[in-house]
Assembly symmetry: C2
Homo-oligomer: 227 residues x 2
């Protein structure tokens, strides 16, 4: 019997893919408007390359972007990008319409709910606070560095904090290679939410096979009843 | 004859002292509300000490704060502080009521206007953008590292960018030991604006003697006419 539901955060409780796309788009527009001598499309492509090389937590994306475009370093243009990026990022940091209703219903049914997410703990908690979700969960496990998904360890830690056995848990996440795989290896059921840029993959092995697939978080409650 | 007015940024064009005080106050309140086991006053005092030791651009003020208070590191509490700090900082990042009217009048009189400020260039430009002031100035000099105020160099650089002689410039700033001193050493006139926590000092030498003292930025126009 399912007693707890463990959610991933990014692209599972809110639209991270849309948020990041919009933030980068807004940054590039603002930089071009502030005087960056290139076309928006070219700048967007160059920025995507910088991000893919340096990772999303790198501090100097825009310095590298100007460098990649052969432009002189210009703090006004970089600042225009930073401000526009953060403004858009905040605007799009909202739960899916179905997130809060679903969490409320799960709690009202007596299910315990938790989060297992990878990232810097303070950054992930900032997201939960700004999303208005910080007080919903009975356990929040943020894996930084080692023991990230698809390791089963953060899932087992969450089950322990929730006071339930792994077999009594279902995990909900967008990524087969991280959420589904980690949850299954921990002995849990797994629901894939097909949202965001990472959800289009195919299962690479048996651990990546979800028990159920839903396209919106509002369908999770029904999906749990079918498990 | 005065042909250009060079402004300091922090505490001269907006109330930085109030902004930072409110941001720290809001951070401490949020951390206590999120579960920090101490009184707000004690936490505020401990935070002030961390900031005075590590400087305002240090990245881990709240980690150090929890440590100083003997509390376990807690990413939820730290994130609550970070979010509250940034929200208040943004709310109070507004020009003084007299700033924009004064800048408009100076420009309409045919005076050139500039900024000389110390700090990280991208951070100072972010402030100008969020203040709505990024497009007002004919020259913006941000001194990072060496050659900061009270060196006359950034002031001479601004005069050069403005296309005027130092003797044709007046600087406006809150700090005798940085703005007034640097401007006078550059051969400029100097108006002290008695705003913010740094404006209560007494002149330590002849370079720190302003030609004129005003209590609001709206008085700058009249003060220039008396020079």
């Amino acid at each position: 019997m399912i007693k707890a539901v463990i959610f991933d955060l990014d692209d599972t409780l809110y639209d991270t893919t849309l948020q990041v796309d919009k933030a980068r788009e807004n940054a590039v527009k603002a930089m071009v408007a502030a005087g960056l001598q290139t076309e928006e499309e070219k700048a967007a492509a160059a920025l995507a390359e910088v991000v893919s090389k340096k990772g999303s937590n790198y501090e100097n994306h825009y310095d590298d972007l100007l460098n990649a475009l052969g432009c002189e370093n210009n703090p006004k243009i970089i600042a225009a990008g930073v401000v526009a990026y953060h403004e858009a990022k905040k605007t799009y940091l909202v739960p899916y319409p179905g997130t809060i209703p679903t969490l409320l219903k799960l709690r009202e049914k007596g299910l315990r709910i938790g989060i297992v997410t990878d990232g810097r703990p303070v950054k992930q908690w900032e997201k939960l606070i700004r999303l208005g979700l910080a007080d919903f969960f009975d356990a929040v496990v943020v894996s930084d560095g080692h023991e990230q998904k698809p390791s089963p360890k953060p899932f087992l830690k969450a089950a322990s904090e929730l006071g339930v056995r792994p077999s009594e848990c279902v995990i909900v996440g967008d990524r087969l290679d991280r959420d589904i795989s980690g949850g299954k290896k921990a002995g849990m059921r797994a629901i894939q939410l097909t949202r965001g840029k990472h959800s289009r993959m195919k299962p690479a092995d048996a651990h990546e096979e979800p028990d159920c697939i839903v396209s919106t978080i509002g369908d999770v409650l029904h999906a749990i009843q079918t498990l």
